[in-house]
Protein backbone atom coordinates (compact mmCIF):
# COMPACT_ATOMS: atom_id res chain seq x y z
CA UNK A 1 0.00 0.00 0.00
CA UNK A 2 2.61 2.44 1.09
CA UNK A 3 4.86 1.57 -1.79
CA UNK A 4 2.00 2.12 -4.14
CA UNK A 5 1.40 5.48 -2.62
CA UNK A 6 4.97 6.47 -3.14
CA UNK A 7 4.91 5.26 -6.72
CA UNK A 8 1.86 7.31 -7.45
CA UNK A 9 3.23 10.38 -5.83
CA UNK A 10 6.15 9.92 -8.11
CA UNK A 11 3.86 9.68 -11.11
CA UNK A 12 2.10 12.78 -9.93
CA UNK A 13 5.35 14.57 -9.45
CA UNK A 14 6.51 13.54 -12.87
CA UNK A 15 3.42 15.02 -14.47
CA UNK A 16 3.65 18.16 -12.39
CA UNK A 17 7.35 18.30 -13.02
CA UNK A 18 6.87 17.92 -16.75
CA UNK A 19 4.72 21.00 -16.79
CA UNK A 20 7.10 22.94 -14.67
CA UNK A 21 9.81 21.80 -17.06
CA UNK A 22 7.94 23.09 -20.05
CA UNK A 23 7.71 26.51 -18.48
CA UNK A 24 11.15 26.43 -16.96
CA UNK A 25 12.84 25.20 -20.08
CA UNK A 26 11.19 27.89 -22.13
CA UNK A 27 12.75 30.46 -19.82
CA UNK A 28 16.13 28.75 -19.99
CA UNK A 29 15.81 28.55 -23.74
CA UNK A 30 15.56 32.30 -23.73
CA UNK A 31 19.05 32.69 -22.24
CA UNK A 32 20.63 30.17 -24.55
CA UNK A 33 18.99 31.71 -27.55
CA UNK A 34 19.80 35.36 -27.01
CA UNK A 35 23.26 35.08 -28.56
CA UNK A 36 21.90 33.62 -31.78
CA UNK A 37 19.83 36.70 -32.46
CA UNK A 38 18.81 35.85 -35.98
CA UNK A 39 18.96 32.08 -35.74
CA UNK A 40 15.24 31.83 -35.27
CA UNK A 41 14.82 29.03 -37.68
CA UNK A 42 13.61 25.60 -36.74
CA UNK A 43 16.58 23.66 -38.06
CA UNK A 44 18.74 24.55 -35.09
CA UNK A 45 16.14 23.50 -32.63
CA UNK A 46 15.77 20.21 -34.39
CA UNK A 47 19.48 19.53 -34.14
CA UNK A 48 19.49 20.33 -30.46
CA UNK A 49 16.55 18.07 -29.76
CA UNK A 50 17.33 15.28 -32.17
CA UNK A 51 15.37 14.82 -35.35
CA UNK A 52 11.62 14.77 -35.13
CA UNK A 53 10.89 13.40 -38.59
CA UNK A 54 10.93 9.88 -39.96
CA UNK A 55 13.17 9.09 -42.92
CA UNK A 56 11.93 7.38 -46.05
CA UNK A 57 13.23 4.02 -44.83
CA UNK A 58 11.62 4.40 -41.43
CA UNK A 59 8.28 5.17 -43.04
CA UNK A 60 8.52 2.19 -45.37
CA UNK A 61 9.52 -0.06 -42.51
CA UNK A 62 6.61 1.02 -40.33
CA UNK A 63 4.17 0.36 -43.14
CA UNK A 64 2.15 3.55 -42.65
CA UNK A 65 2.66 7.14 -43.64
CA UNK A 66 1.01 10.03 -41.83
CA UNK A 67 -0.26 12.60 -44.28
CA UNK A 68 -1.78 15.88 -43.13
CA UNK A 69 -4.73 16.96 -45.27
CA UNK A 70 -7.71 19.24 -44.86
CA UNK A 71 -10.92 17.54 -43.91
CA UNK A 72 -13.21 20.50 -44.50
CA UNK A 73 -11.93 22.06 -47.70
CA UNK A 74 -14.08 20.81 -50.51
CA UNK A 75 -13.01 20.06 -53.29
CA UNK A 76 -9.32 19.87 -52.25
CA UNK A 77 -9.48 17.87 -49.07
CA UNK A 78 -12.71 16.81 -47.40
CA UNK A 79 -14.49 13.79 -45.98
CA UNK A 80 -17.46 12.32 -47.83
CA UNK A 81 -20.60 10.90 -46.27
CA UNK A 82 -18.98 7.49 -45.92
CA UNK A 83 -16.15 8.89 -43.88
CA UNK A 84 -13.56 8.66 -46.68
CA UNK A 85 -11.12 11.42 -47.46
CA UNK A 86 -11.58 12.90 -50.94
CA UNK A 87 -10.34 15.79 -53.08
CA UNK A 88 -7.51 17.01 -55.27
CA UNK A 89 -4.86 16.79 -52.54
CA UNK A 90 -6.14 13.45 -51.33
CA UNK A 91 -6.00 12.01 -54.85
CA UNK A 92 -2.28 12.75 -54.84
CA UNK A 93 -1.88 11.43 -51.33
CA UNK A 94 -3.49 8.13 -52.28
CA UNK A 95 -1.07 7.77 -55.17
CA UNK A 96 1.90 8.52 -52.93
CA UNK A 97 0.79 5.85 -50.51
CA UNK A 98 0.39 3.36 -53.32
CA UNK A 99 3.80 4.09 -54.85
CA UNK A 100 5.50 3.90 -51.46
CA UNK A 101 3.71 0.66 -50.77
CA UNK A 102 2.42 1.79 -47.38
CA UNK A 103 -0.93 2.41 -45.72
CA UNK A 104 -2.01 6.01 -45.34
CA UNK A 105 -3.04 7.46 -42.04
CA UNK A 106 -4.83 10.73 -42.80
CA UNK A 107 -4.42 13.41 -40.19
CA UNK A 108 -6.96 16.21 -40.32
CA UNK A 109 -5.11 19.54 -40.16
CA UNK A 110 -6.13 23.17 -39.91
CA UNK A 111 -4.38 25.88 -41.85
CA UNK A 112 -2.64 27.28 -38.80
CA UNK A 113 -1.39 23.87 -37.69
CA UNK A 114 0.39 22.83 -40.86
CA UNK A 115 3.88 24.08 -40.02
CA UNK A 116 3.48 22.97 -36.43
CA UNK A 117 2.54 19.43 -37.43
CA UNK A 118 5.67 19.08 -39.55
CA UNK A 119 7.95 20.75 -37.03
CA UNK A 120 6.79 18.39 -34.33
CA UNK A 121 6.85 15.34 -36.59
CA UNK A 122 3.14 14.65 -36.12
CA UNK A 123 2.81 14.08 -39.85
CA UNK A 124 5.35 12.98 -42.47
CA UNK A 125 3.94 15.00 -45.35
CA UNK A 126 1.53 17.92 -45.51
CA UNK A 127 -0.67 17.84 -48.58
CA UNK A 128 -3.09 20.51 -47.51
CA UNK A 129 -3.16 23.14 -50.24
CA UNK A 130 0.08 24.45 -48.80
CA UNK A 131 1.23 27.59 -50.61
CA UNK A 132 5.00 27.95 -50.91
CA UNK A 133 6.23 31.12 -49.18
CA UNK A 134 9.67 32.23 -48.03
CA UNK A 135 8.54 32.43 -44.45
CA UNK A 136 7.24 28.89 -44.45
CA UNK A 137 10.26 27.62 -46.37
CA UNK A 138 12.41 28.58 -43.37
CA UNK A 139 10.46 26.15 -41.23
CA UNK A 140 9.62 23.30 -43.57
CA UNK A 141 10.96 21.85 -46.82
CA UNK A 142 8.75 22.15 -49.88
CA UNK A 143 8.85 19.65 -52.70
CA UNK A 144 8.14 20.58 -56.32
CA UNK A 145 4.81 22.36 -56.89
CA UNK A 146 1.66 20.72 -58.24
CA UNK A 147 -0.74 23.64 -58.48
CA UNK A 148 -0.86 27.39 -59.17
CA UNK A 149 -2.52 29.79 -56.83
CA UNK A 150 -3.02 33.48 -56.06
CA UNK A 151 -5.28 35.20 -53.57
CA UNK A 152 -8.87 36.05 -54.34
CA UNK A 153 -11.75 37.77 -52.63
CA UNK A 154 -15.35 36.63 -52.86
CA UNK A 155 -18.27 38.74 -51.67
CA UNK A 156 -22.05 38.70 -51.56
CA UNK A 157 -23.66 39.45 -54.94
CA UNK A 158 -25.60 42.44 -53.66
CA UNK A 159 -22.41 44.16 -52.54
CA UNK A 160 -19.48 43.02 -54.62
CA UNK A 161 -16.04 44.12 -53.43
CA UNK A 162 -13.94 44.86 -56.50
CA UNK A 163 -11.13 46.74 -54.83
CA UNK A 164 -9.66 45.69 -51.53
CA UNK A 165 -8.81 49.35 -50.76
CA UNK A 166 -12.52 50.17 -50.75
CA UNK A 167 -13.31 48.08 -47.70
CA UNK A 168 -14.46 50.59 -45.10
CA UNK A 169 -13.30 50.61 -41.53
CA UNK A 170 -16.53 49.26 -40.07
CA UNK A 171 -16.64 46.26 -42.39
CA UNK A 172 -14.96 42.95 -41.73
CA UNK A 173 -13.21 40.60 -44.09
CA UNK A 174 -13.18 36.92 -43.23
CA UNK A 175 -9.88 35.03 -43.39
CA UNK A 176 -8.67 31.70 -42.12
CA UNK A 177 -5.98 31.74 -39.51
CA UNK A 178 -2.60 30.65 -40.83
CA UNK A 179 -3.34 31.15 -44.53
CA UNK A 180 -1.42 33.27 -47.00
CA UNK A 181 -4.46 35.54 -47.29
CA UNK A 182 -4.20 36.38 -43.63
CA UNK A 183 -0.47 37.10 -43.82
CA UNK A 184 -0.92 39.20 -46.97
CA UNK A 185 -3.72 41.35 -45.59
CA UNK A 186 -2.04 41.78 -42.21
CA UNK A 187 1.11 42.94 -43.91
CA UNK A 188 -0.24 45.08 -46.73
CA UNK A 189 -3.59 46.30 -45.45
CA UNK A 190 -3.21 46.54 -41.69
CA UNK A 191 -6.29 48.79 -41.45
CA UNK A 192 -8.71 46.21 -42.77
CA UNK A 193 -10.55 44.52 -39.94
CA UNK A 194 -10.17 40.78 -40.20
CA UNK A 195 -12.49 38.19 -38.78
CA UNK A 196 -10.41 35.08 -38.31
CA UNK A 197 -11.46 31.46 -38.10
CA UNK A 198 -9.57 28.25 -37.42
CA UNK A 199 -11.34 26.08 -39.91
CA UNK A 200 -12.64 26.33 -43.45
CA UNK A 201 -16.01 25.06 -42.32
CA UNK A 202 -16.33 27.79 -39.71
CA UNK A 203 -15.18 30.55 -42.06
CA UNK A 204 -17.55 29.56 -44.85
CA UNK A 205 -20.54 29.10 -42.59
CA UNK A 206 -19.87 32.45 -41.04
CA UNK A 207 -19.50 34.09 -44.46
CA UNK A 208 -22.83 32.58 -45.55
CA UNK A 209 -24.37 33.87 -42.36
CA UNK A 210 -23.36 37.38 -43.36
CA UNK A 211 -21.03 38.26 -40.51
CA UNK A 212 -18.35 39.49 -42.92
CA UNK A 213 -18.70 41.39 -46.18
CA UNK A 214 -16.09 39.37 -48.02
CA UNK A 215 -13.92 36.31 -47.68
CA UNK A 216 -10.27 36.40 -48.74
CA UNK A 217 -8.48 33.17 -49.44
CA UNK A 218 -6.67 31.25 -52.16
CA UNK A 219 -8.41 32.22 -55.40
CA UNK A 220 -8.94 28.56 -56.25
CA UNK A 221 -10.97 28.26 -53.11
CA UNK A 222 -13.08 31.42 -53.47
CA UNK A 223 -13.79 30.68 -57.14
CA UNK A 224 -14.96 27.22 -56.17
CA UNK A 225 -17.14 28.70 -53.46
CA UNK A 226 -18.81 31.20 -55.80
CA UNK A 227 -19.34 28.52 -58.43
CA UNK A 228 -20.91 26.09 -56.03
CA UNK A 229 -23.09 28.45 -54.06
CA UNK A 230 -25.76 30.87 -55.24
CA UNK A 231 -25.50 34.57 -54.53
CA UNK A 232 -21.75 35.11 -54.42
CA UNK A 233 -19.30 36.73 -56.80
CA UNK A 234 -15.53 36.78 -56.93
CA UNK A 235 -14.96 40.54 -57.18
CA UNK A 236 -11.18 40.24 -56.94
CA UNK A 237 -10.00 37.10 -58.77
CA UNK A 238 -6.30 37.74 -58.24
CA UNK A 239 -4.53 39.62 -55.48
CA UNK A 240 -0.90 39.63 -54.44
CA UNK A 241 1.68 37.51 -56.17
CA UNK A 242 1.24 34.32 -58.18
CA UNK A 243 2.31 31.43 -56.01
CA UNK A 244 2.43 27.68 -56.15
CA UNK A 245 1.20 24.88 -53.96
CA UNK A 246 3.49 22.00 -53.10
CA UNK A 247 3.82 19.04 -50.73
CA UNK A 248 5.89 19.81 -47.64
CA UNK A 249 8.01 17.68 -45.32
CA UNK A 250 9.80 18.40 -42.04
CA UNK A 251 12.90 20.55 -42.36
CA UNK A 252 15.87 18.36 -43.15
CA UNK A 253 13.97 15.24 -44.16
CA UNK A 254 16.06 14.87 -47.30
CA UNK A 255 15.34 11.24 -48.10
CA UNK A 256 11.60 11.79 -48.18
CA UNK A 257 11.96 15.09 -50.03
CA UNK A 258 14.06 13.52 -52.73
CA UNK A 259 11.64 10.65 -53.14
CA UNK A 260 8.73 13.10 -53.42
CA UNK A 261 10.48 15.20 -56.05
CA UNK A 262 11.28 12.13 -58.14
CA UNK A 263 7.71 10.99 -57.73
CA UNK A 264 6.34 14.36 -58.86
CA UNK A 265 8.50 14.27 -61.98
CA UNK A 266 7.31 10.75 -62.78
CA UNK A 267 3.71 11.80 -62.21
CA UNK A 268 4.21 14.83 -64.44
CA UNK A 269 5.24 12.57 -67.29
CA UNK A 270 2.00 10.67 -67.12
CA UNK A 271 -0.04 13.91 -66.77
CA UNK A 272 -1.21 12.73 -63.38
CA UNK A 273 -2.47 16.11 -62.21
CA UNK A 274 -4.61 16.61 -65.28
CA UNK A 275 -6.25 13.32 -64.44
CA UNK A 276 -6.55 14.45 -60.83
CA UNK A 277 -8.19 17.70 -61.98
CA UNK A 278 -10.63 15.85 -64.17
CA UNK A 279 -11.48 13.52 -61.34
CA UNK A 280 -11.86 15.98 -58.49
CA UNK A 281 -12.06 19.57 -59.66
CA UNK A 282 -13.85 19.57 -63.01
CA UNK A 283 -17.31 19.47 -61.43
CA UNK A 284 -16.50 22.67 -59.63
CA UNK A 285 -14.39 24.66 -62.07
CA UNK A 286 -15.30 23.25 -65.47
CA UNK A 287 -12.56 22.65 -68.01
CA UNK A 288 -11.56 26.33 -68.33
CA UNK A 289 -9.25 26.42 -65.36
CA UNK A 290 -7.46 23.14 -66.03
CA UNK A 291 -4.34 24.56 -67.64
CA UNK A 292 -4.06 27.60 -65.39
CA UNK A 293 -4.39 25.62 -62.19
CA UNK A 294 -2.51 22.42 -62.83
CA UNK A 295 1.27 22.22 -62.66
CA UNK A 296 2.96 19.12 -64.08
CA UNK A 297 6.63 18.56 -63.40
CA UNK A 298 8.87 17.65 -66.29
CA UNK A 299 6.80 19.02 -69.15
CA UNK A 300 7.47 22.70 -68.56
CA UNK A 301 11.22 22.44 -68.45
Amino acid sequence: MKKNLIKNIKAKKIITGALALVLGASMLGACGKSDAANGENGAQKLKANGKVYRTLDEIKKSGTINIGVFSDKNPFGYVDENGDYQGYDVYLANRIGKDLGVEINYVSTEAANRVEYLESGKVDIVLANFTVTDERAQKVDFALPYMNVALGVVSHKDKVIKDIEKVSSDEQVIVISGTTAETFLEKNYPDIKLQKFDTYAAAKTSFENGTGIAWANDNTEVIAFAKENEGYEVGIPSLGSQDTIAPAVSKGNESLLKWLNDELVTLGKEKFFHADYEKTLIDTYGADYEDTLVVEQGDNK
Partner: protein, 222 residues
Protein backbone atom coordinates in the same frame (compact mmCIF):
# COMPACT_ATOMS: atom_id res chain seq x y z
CA UNK B 1 -34.25 21.77 -45.08
CA UNK B 2 -30.85 20.51 -44.08
CA UNK B 3 -31.77 17.74 -41.71
CA UNK B 4 -31.47 15.14 -44.45
CA UNK B 5 -27.66 15.35 -44.47
CA UNK B 6 -27.67 13.49 -41.19
CA UNK B 7 -29.39 10.55 -42.83
CA UNK B 8 -27.05 10.49 -45.81
CA UNK B 9 -24.50 7.68 -46.02
CA UNK B 10 -23.06 6.89 -42.64
CA UNK B 11 -23.17 10.47 -41.40
CA UNK B 12 -25.16 9.83 -38.23
CA UNK B 13 -22.94 6.89 -37.41
CA UNK B 14 -19.87 9.06 -37.94
CA UNK B 15 -21.22 11.64 -35.50
CA UNK B 16 -21.73 8.90 -32.93
CA UNK B 17 -18.24 7.60 -33.55
CA UNK B 18 -16.95 11.11 -33.04
CA UNK B 19 -18.81 11.30 -29.75
CA UNK B 20 -17.39 7.98 -28.65
CA UNK B 21 -13.86 9.24 -29.41
CA UNK B 22 -14.51 12.09 -27.00
CA UNK B 23 -16.15 9.80 -24.44
CA UNK B 24 -13.22 7.37 -24.55
CA UNK B 25 -10.76 10.11 -23.81
CA UNK B 26 -12.88 11.35 -20.93
CA UNK B 27 -13.37 7.92 -19.38
CA UNK B 28 -9.67 7.10 -19.45
CA UNK B 29 -8.93 10.50 -17.95
CA UNK B 30 -11.56 10.03 -15.25
CA UNK B 31 -10.09 6.67 -14.30
CA UNK B 32 -6.60 8.14 -13.96
CA UNK B 33 -7.95 11.20 -12.13
CA UNK B 34 -9.80 9.09 -9.59
CA UNK B 35 -6.74 7.05 -8.67
CA UNK B 36 -4.31 9.95 -8.54
CA UNK B 37 -6.86 12.26 -6.94
CA UNK B 38 -7.73 9.90 -4.10
CA UNK B 39 -4.08 9.31 -3.29
CA UNK B 40 -3.26 12.99 -3.42
CA UNK B 41 -6.35 13.86 -1.38
CA UNK B 42 -5.35 11.45 1.38
CA UNK B 43 -1.83 12.85 1.37
CA UNK B 44 -3.17 16.37 1.65
CA UNK B 45 -5.32 15.40 4.60
CA UNK B 46 -2.18 14.24 6.44
CA UNK B 47 -1.01 17.84 6.93
CA UNK B 48 2.56 17.29 5.81
CA UNK B 49 3.97 20.76 5.14
CA UNK B 50 5.95 19.84 2.05
CA UNK B 51 3.03 17.97 0.51
CA UNK B 52 0.68 20.84 1.33
CA UNK B 53 3.02 23.38 -0.22
CA UNK B 54 3.37 21.53 -3.52
CA UNK B 55 -0.24 20.49 -3.68
CA UNK B 56 -1.28 24.08 -3.12
CA UNK B 57 0.76 25.24 -6.08
CA UNK B 58 -0.56 22.39 -8.16
CA UNK B 59 -4.18 23.13 -7.26
CA UNK B 60 -3.70 26.81 -7.97
CA UNK B 61 -2.27 26.11 -11.43
CA UNK B 62 -5.27 23.96 -12.23
CA UNK B 63 -7.61 26.52 -10.73
CA UNK B 64 -6.48 29.41 -12.90
CA UNK B 65 -5.27 27.81 -16.15
CA UNK B 66 -7.92 27.04 -18.75
CA UNK B 67 -7.72 23.42 -19.92
CA UNK B 68 -7.40 24.70 -23.45
CA UNK B 69 -4.19 26.54 -22.56
CA UNK B 70 -2.80 23.42 -20.90
CA UNK B 71 -3.75 21.40 -23.96
CA UNK B 72 -1.81 23.71 -26.25
CA UNK B 73 1.20 23.74 -23.97
CA UNK B 74 1.35 20.00 -23.66
CA UNK B 75 0.50 19.24 -27.26
CA UNK B 76 2.57 21.82 -29.09
CA UNK B 77 4.99 22.75 -26.36
CA UNK B 78 6.17 19.25 -25.48
CA UNK B 79 7.81 18.59 -28.83
CA UNK B 80 9.29 22.06 -29.08
CA UNK B 81 10.76 22.25 -25.64
CA UNK B 82 11.50 18.75 -24.41
CA UNK B 83 11.51 16.93 -27.72
CA UNK B 84 8.88 14.33 -26.87
CA UNK B 85 6.29 13.82 -29.56
CA UNK B 86 2.90 13.19 -28.02
CA UNK B 87 -0.12 12.15 -30.00
CA UNK B 88 -3.11 14.45 -29.61
CA UNK B 89 -4.92 11.73 -27.67
CA UNK B 90 -2.07 11.24 -25.21
CA UNK B 91 -1.72 14.98 -24.76
CA UNK B 92 -5.40 15.37 -23.96
CA UNK B 93 -5.40 12.46 -21.53
CA UNK B 94 -2.41 13.97 -19.73
CA UNK B 95 -4.06 17.37 -19.50
CA UNK B 96 -7.48 16.12 -18.43
CA UNK B 97 -5.98 13.78 -15.84
CA UNK B 98 -3.80 16.61 -14.55
CA UNK B 99 -6.96 18.67 -14.16
CA UNK B 100 -9.21 15.88 -12.92
CA UNK B 101 -6.76 14.63 -10.30
CA UNK B 102 -6.65 18.11 -8.80
CA UNK B 103 -10.43 18.35 -8.67
CA UNK B 104 -10.70 14.87 -7.23
CA UNK B 105 -8.03 15.43 -4.59
CA UNK B 106 -9.85 18.54 -3.45
CA UNK B 107 -13.08 16.55 -3.12
CA UNK B 108 -11.34 13.81 -1.17
CA UNK B 109 -9.68 16.28 1.14
CA UNK B 110 -13.00 18.06 1.69
CA UNK B 111 -14.78 14.79 2.43
CA UNK B 112 -12.12 13.66 4.91
CA UNK B 113 -12.16 17.05 6.60
CA UNK B 114 -15.92 16.96 6.98
CA UNK B 115 -15.76 13.94 9.29
CA UNK B 116 -15.84 15.44 12.79
CA UNK B 117 -12.88 14.70 15.07
CA UNK B 118 -15.20 13.25 17.65
CA UNK B 119 -15.70 10.20 15.46
CA UNK B 120 -12.00 9.45 15.53
CA UNK B 121 -11.93 10.03 19.26
CA UNK B 122 -14.90 7.82 20.00
CA UNK B 123 -13.47 5.07 17.81
CA UNK B 124 -10.24 5.32 19.75
CA UNK B 125 -12.20 5.19 22.99
CA UNK B 126 -13.85 2.01 21.73
CA UNK B 127 -10.27 0.78 21.26
CA UNK B 128 -10.58 0.37 17.51
CA UNK B 129 -7.24 0.28 15.75
CA UNK B 130 -6.62 3.14 13.36
CA UNK B 131 -6.97 0.69 10.48
CA UNK B 132 -10.36 -0.42 11.79
CA UNK B 133 -11.40 3.18 12.37
CA UNK B 134 -10.72 4.01 8.75
CA UNK B 135 -12.11 0.76 7.41
CA UNK B 136 -15.39 0.68 9.34
CA UNK B 137 -16.09 4.25 10.45
CA UNK B 138 -14.49 6.83 8.22
CA UNK B 139 -14.31 5.22 4.78
CA UNK B 140 -17.99 4.25 4.48
CA UNK B 141 -19.01 7.85 5.10
CA UNK B 142 -16.33 9.32 2.87
CA UNK B 143 -17.12 6.95 0.03
CA UNK B 144 -20.80 7.83 0.20
CA UNK B 145 -19.94 11.48 -0.01
CA UNK B 146 -17.46 10.94 -2.82
CA UNK B 147 -19.37 8.69 -5.18
CA UNK B 148 -21.94 11.28 -6.30
CA UNK B 149 -19.22 13.92 -6.59
CA UNK B 150 -16.96 11.69 -8.66
CA UNK B 151 -19.84 10.76 -10.94
CA UNK B 152 -20.40 14.46 -11.38
CA UNK B 153 -16.74 14.77 -12.33
CA UNK B 154 -17.43 12.39 -15.22
CA UNK B 155 -19.97 14.76 -16.78
CA UNK B 156 -17.58 17.66 -16.39
CA UNK B 157 -14.84 15.61 -17.99
CA UNK B 158 -17.08 14.70 -20.92
CA UNK B 159 -17.96 18.34 -21.47
CA UNK B 160 -14.33 19.33 -21.32
CA UNK B 161 -13.31 16.82 -23.97
CA UNK B 162 -15.16 18.88 -26.59
CA UNK B 163 -11.96 20.97 -26.55
CA UNK B 164 -9.85 18.24 -28.14
CA UNK B 165 -11.18 19.34 -31.51
CA UNK B 166 -8.88 22.33 -31.12
CA UNK B 167 -5.77 20.15 -31.21
CA UNK B 168 -6.91 18.25 -34.26
CA UNK B 169 -8.64 15.18 -32.87
CA UNK B 170 -11.51 14.28 -35.13
CA UNK B 171 -14.31 14.12 -32.59
CA UNK B 172 -17.98 14.89 -32.92
CA UNK B 173 -17.69 18.65 -33.59
CA UNK B 174 -15.06 18.17 -36.26
CA UNK B 175 -17.10 15.40 -37.90
CA UNK B 176 -20.01 17.84 -37.82
CA UNK B 177 -17.95 20.44 -39.66
CA UNK B 178 -16.85 17.86 -42.20
CA UNK B 179 -20.45 16.91 -42.87
CA UNK B 180 -21.48 20.54 -43.24
CA UNK B 181 -18.59 21.14 -45.62
CA UNK B 182 -19.18 18.09 -47.80
CA UNK B 183 -22.84 19.03 -48.23
CA UNK B 184 -22.59 22.81 -48.38
CA UNK B 185 -24.11 23.08 -51.85
CA UNK B 186 -26.85 20.51 -51.47
CA UNK B 187 -27.91 21.46 -47.94
CA UNK B 188 -26.87 25.01 -47.13
CA UNK B 189 -28.77 24.94 -43.84
CA UNK B 190 -27.11 21.82 -42.53
CA UNK B 191 -25.20 23.79 -39.86
CA UNK B 192 -28.35 24.38 -37.82
CA UNK B 193 -29.30 20.72 -37.69
CA UNK B 194 -25.83 19.30 -37.33
CA UNK B 195 -24.97 21.53 -34.38
CA UNK B 196 -28.38 21.03 -32.82
CA UNK B 197 -27.92 17.26 -32.99
CA UNK B 198 -24.43 17.52 -31.49
CA UNK B 199 -25.82 19.69 -28.71
CA UNK B 200 -28.45 17.05 -28.00
CA UNK B 201 -25.92 14.21 -28.23
CA UNK B 202 -23.80 15.79 -25.54
CA UNK B 203 -26.90 16.33 -23.48
CA UNK B 204 -27.90 12.70 -23.91
CA UNK B 205 -24.44 11.63 -22.77
CA UNK B 206 -24.25 13.86 -19.70
CA UNK B 207 -27.80 14.17 -18.41
CA UNK B 208 -28.32 10.59 -17.21
CA UNK B 209 -24.99 10.74 -15.40
CA UNK B 210 -25.97 14.02 -13.73
CA UNK B 211 -29.28 12.51 -12.66
CA UNK B 212 -27.55 9.48 -11.20
CA UNK B 213 -25.14 11.67 -9.29
CA UNK B 214 -27.97 13.77 -7.86
CA UNK B 215 -30.01 10.70 -7.00
CA UNK B 216 -27.14 9.15 -5.05
CA UNK B 217 -26.38 12.42 -3.35
CA UNK B 218 -29.94 12.69 -2.07
CA UNK B 219 -30.16 9.03 -1.15
CA UNK B 220 -27.01 9.08 0.95
CA UNK B 221 -27.45 12.50 2.47
CA UNK B 222 -26.89 12.23 6.20
Amino acid sequence: MGFEVLLKGSNMLRLLEGLSTALNISLISVAISLVLGIILGILMAMHNRVVLFFSKIYLEIVRIMPQMVLLFIVYFGSTKVIGINLSAETASIIVFSFWGAAEMSDLVRGALKSIPTIQYESSAALSLSSFMTYRYIIMPQVVRMLIPLSINLITRMIKTTSLVMMIGIVEVLKVGQQIIEANRTASPNAAFWVFLVIFLLYFAACWPISLLSRFLEKKWKV
